[in-house]
């Protein structure tokens, strides 16, 4: 029996404790916001927080959660249901395309901002390089992180402010 705190609530699971946390979340707890991408910690789609640290749940056994706090994408909103500022920034920058990687991207970004409230480009690269986005929304992710950090994005190319030219 593995007991842990999941998105603020006590949770117990009586399954093989070698089961990767990813599959315990998705299949045993029906929290499907955390995604399977590669199963070998190369893509970041499965990123969740374990005691506030961003981890790859596809290679983390459930046993590692014993007595710990796990936060998933479903646990980011406030108890009143308001989006987390990082989620709001993601909407404002219209980040997702297919959206499949975005739970992991957001969890990595939230962990980054909790440790570094004003990350520069190098810090963003370091924290986000483990999260692949095949739709290639890296520029928008970078901007959304800066927006969430309260940093001015003036001077950064803004496609929404760039109105089409008439021929």
């Amino acid at each position: 029996m593995i007991t842990f705190t999941l998105n603020g609530s006590e949770q117990s699971l009586d399954i093989d404790s070698n089961t990767p946390l990813l599959w315990a979340l998705r299949e045993n707890l029906q929290l499907t916001g955390t995604k399977f991408g590669c199963g070998v910690a190369q893509c970041g789609a499965c990123t969740v927080h374990l005691n506030g640290q961003a981890i790859r749940s596809c290679v983390t056994p459930l046993a590692a959660a014993q007595g710990s706090a796990v936060t998933t994408i479903e646990g980011l909103a406030s108890t009143e249901g308001a989006m987390h500022p990082v989620q709001e920034a993601w909407v404002a920058e219209q980040v997702p395309q297919c959206g499949y990687c975005q739970s992991g991207q957001i969890m990595s970004a939230v962990a980054l901002l909790e440790q570094n409230s004003n990350p520069d480009d190098a810090a963003i690269n370091a924290a986000m390089s483990g999260n692949i986005c095949r739709c290639g929304m890296y520029g928008r992710i970078r901007k959304a992180i800066k927006r969430a950090a309260g940093e001015s994005v003036v001077g950064v190319f803004d496609p929404k402010a760039n109105n089409p030219q008439e021929a």
């Binding site: 599959w23 399977f36 909407v91 095949r134 739709c135 929304m137 890296y138 109105n163 089409p164 021929a167």
Partner: protein, 746 residues
């Protein structure tokens, strides 16, 4: 030879489209009002179906029924904008839902149904077919999201017309109700007003009576100057669910009683199970069954992880095939020989023959020769292939993200020998499509496994399975010659390549070179091939635009200026090229170790120019900046177009820098992102997109950003390093050394 076989579009059309007596590929079309056929599948109590593309309920909610899938391209929102604008609907009233997998939403119905009457099927509606699509097409059921076609075909010919027709029906209803002339009525924000009497009515109030009229196939459409919603930035409807984890992808389907399956297909395409020992796998707790699908083995268990672990314990022997000796090198050699021989013995097929070719080469001062190559590529969607299926007697349900849900329905029915009427596709969001999810392979597997085990089954491919059983972008070789006069004039362009699929015009160059000979041959392999973002443009964009820079150098011209010179009669091309060059600062001095490259590509009805800046550091190429200009006629959703350029560029950049599927002993070698690397945050350039609304016919956006990045990149690399990259990916080059691949100028 792939079991999917070769195809040709001509054969495809002759096989059923044009020869069908006007009924396009078997879809039972009726001129005029087709509402009766679909009314039951898309309406619930209280809905009135105005026509097949829009419905209004009593609460005033207007729902666009969008016959395209959402894989991140934002087309559903753009299509809703087109409908809402023509309808004069209030944008906040407008939502959309994806059309069910029904014949009446087949793309062909759009071309030949009430929308266009008897008009010819537009070229863009001819899908970007490949062998896989052809199988679907043979079943005469197409509901494809691909070919960058959603906005420019469904939107232009469907949504706008439907919105305008709906508006006219509502006006008729109000005119009848108030006994006034239609010309005295105006519409705005989902309300009809009769100025003379001050009477108003909402669309919701009029919906029932409006539904009694037949929609006009030729309603009056708005002029661009009248657009209120088209061309404006609106937030995409699907985004909130994609930031809070609630968006349901195929892999998230939950079906009561569901088990989980992991699968391993024959490593060599064409091979089959020779023998199978599942005794050890079955000992693992949670494993219920091991299923032999003939060309694949699946383990079914109480959870995916258990199934995946147990799959490693299954001892499978595979049959030998004639392809067991195939390797990347053997295929390259085959391609080289086939194009060389076809050119030499005249068995190649011409795409373009212009001018006096022989005398152009005879009179040349310099003849340039080069061979370009691209490798096989995987799609590597973030969401590995998967499907959940349930089979009960003669009925089957499949939960999946599909680029062609209607085709999936028929393919699953065919594979299980079921009546298609009894197959239901529950469409989900796609975690990446890029062409890959036009193939129903995993849906068929899931259905076959579910039938075998008697419970619903969620089948998930491992990342390695996804890499090794893709429907690949083919590896292609393309050989060029160019003739240049002593004064620098480009006299002739000669190109022979293999793998001709779609779009047919992909190898055609826009430049005014008097003598041109572009021809192709076949060089089939056993790897299945299919559409990969921008399809044939993904290779020819690189080939032609990179070789063009070699020609420019031989002609003693700046590559941008030579393009300008040879495009002087194409003002639309020139404007796009000039805009990208100007925004990028073309002509400014470039520092040592840096490079700037340019490309121009016309594809899917849009023109895209790109300028790429690179820096060489310790032998490695870093991509600093990409400036992109696009003329897609009119950008219905400008930020959506910009997002598609950004996405298409990064997708193409991943391929250009790193992408290579390699084959040894007949089997694909790649398993994950360490041996199939893709662009990550730290490698991604700043991208600037500039949009031109030329007012020409609307073009696509999902694919046109992809083809131009590789040549602009390699052209920049040449300036930075002196090495002509003629073979992708770039990562195989060591730029500490200057590589001279071929003789170059003869």
């Amino acid at each position: 030879m792939s079991n999917l076989g070769k195809w040709s579009r001509r054969g495809f059309i002759a096989g059923g489209v044009v020869a069908g007596g006007g009924l396009v590929i078997g879809v039972a079309l009726r001129q005029g009002d087709r509402r009766g056929d679909v009314i039951s599948s898309v309406t619930t109590d209280g809905d009135e179906l105005l026509n097949i593309w829009v419905k209004i309920n009593e609460a005033g909610e207007i729902t666009a029924i969008v016959p395209h899938s959402e894989m991140g391209q934002g087309a559903q929102t753009a299509l809703a904008q087109m409908l809402a604008d023509e309808m004069d609907a209030k944008w906040s009233d407008v939502g959309f839902e994806e059309a069910p997998a029904s014949d009446d939403y087949a793309n062909w119905a759009l071309g030949k149904g009430f929308i266009l009457g008897d008009a010819a099927v537009p070229e863009a509606l001819v899908p970007t077919v490949d062998g896989a699509f052809y199988q679907v097409a043979k079943a005469m059921r197409l509901q494809i999201t691909g070919g960058s076609a959603s906005v420019r075909t469904t939107g232009v010919h469907g949504m706008r017309v439907a919105g305008a027709a709906a508006r006219e029906m509502l006006i008729k209803a109000a005119a009848g109700k108030w006994q006034v002339a239609e010309s005295e009525l105006s519409t705005s924000e989902s309300v009809i007003t009769h100025a003379g009497s001050g009477r108003t009515a909402t669309y919701a109030e009029l919906a029932s009576s409006a539904a009694l009229f037949s929609p006009s196939p030729t309603p009056k459409l708005k002029d661009i100057s009248e657009f209120k919603i088209m061309g404006k930035h609106v937030e995409r409807h699907d985004i909130p669910s994609k930031v809070d984890g609630t968006a349901e992808f195929g892999i998230d389907a939950q079906v009561p009683g569901m088990q989980y399956a992991a699968i391993k297909a024959a490593p060599v395409f064409g091979s089959a199970v020779a023998s199978l020992d599942s005794s050890k796998a079955k000992q693992r707790v949670g494993v219920t069954q091991v299923v032999n699908l003939g060309d694949a083995v699946a383990v079914v268990a109480s959870g995916y992880w258990v199934a995946e672990q147990a799959l490693k314990d299954v001892d499978v022997k595979w049959t030998k095939t004639s392809n067991d000796g195939v390797s990347t090198e053997s295929m390259r050699e085959q391609f080289h020989n086939d194009i060389t021989n076809a050119a030499a013995d005249g068995t190649s097929t011409a795409d373009t023959e212009l001018g006096d070719f022989a005398s152009a080469f005879a009179g040349a001062d310099r003849i340039l020769e080069a061979t370009y190559e691209v490798p096989f590529l995987a799609h590597a969607c973030m969401e590995p292939m998967n499907a959940t299926a349930s089979v009960n007697g003669d009925f089957c349900e499949v939960w999946v993200g599909a680029q062609n849900p209607l085709g999936f329905r028929y393919e699953v029915a065919t594979a299980l020998d079921l009546d298609p009427e009894n197959v239901t596709i529950h469409q989900h969001f796609m975690g990446g499509g890029f062409g890959r999810r036009s193939n129903a392979d995993s849906a068929i597997q899931a259905a076959m496994i579910a039938r075998e085990v008697g419970t619903p089954v969620k089948l998930i491919w491992s990342r390695a399975e996804d890499m090794q059983h893709d429907i690949y972008r083919p590896g292609v070789s393309s050989k060029f010659r160019a003739a240049v006069a002593a004064d620098g004039q480009v006299l002739a362009w000669d190109n022979v390549y293999h793998e001709k699929h779609e779009p047919a015009e992909a190898p055609v160059i826009p430049y005014a070179i008097t003598a041109q000979h572009i021809h192709h041959t076949e060089s089939p392999t056993h790897l299945p091939f299919g559409p990969w973002r921008s399809v044939d443009h993904s290779q020819h964009g690189f080939f032609t635009e990179a070789f063009f820079d070699e020609v420019a150098e031989a002609a003693g011209e700046d590559p941008y200026q030579l393009r300008r010179k040879l495009l002087k009669d194409k003002p639309r091309h020139l404007k796009v090229l000039d805009l990208a060059a100007e925004k990028a600062g073309w002509g400014e001095p470039i520092a040592q170790g840096k490079g700037r490259g340019i490309s121009l590509q016309e594809s899917f009805g849009s023109l895209v120019a790109q300028v790429v800046d690179v820096t060489l550091t310790d032998g490695n190429i870093g991509v600093d900046r990409v400036v992109c200009a696009i003329d897609a006629g009119f950008a219905v959703s400008p930020d959506g177009v910009a997002a598609q350029m950004e996405s298409g560029i990064i997708y193409g950049l991943s391929a250009a820098m790193y992408g290579e599927v390699s084959v040894e002993n007949g089997a694909v070698q790649q398993t994950a992102f360490h041996d199939y690397p893709v662009t990550r945050m730290q490698d991604s350039p700043a991208i600037e997109t500039y949009i031109i609304n030329s007012g020409e016919a609307i073009g696509g956006a999902g694919e046109p950003g992809t083809p131009g990045i590789a040549p602009a990149l390699t052209n920049a690399i040449y300036q930075a390093t002196g090495t002509r990259v003629r073979k992708l990916p770039v990562s195989q080059y060591d730029f500490n050394y200057r590589i001279e691949e071929t003789a170059g100028i003869i």
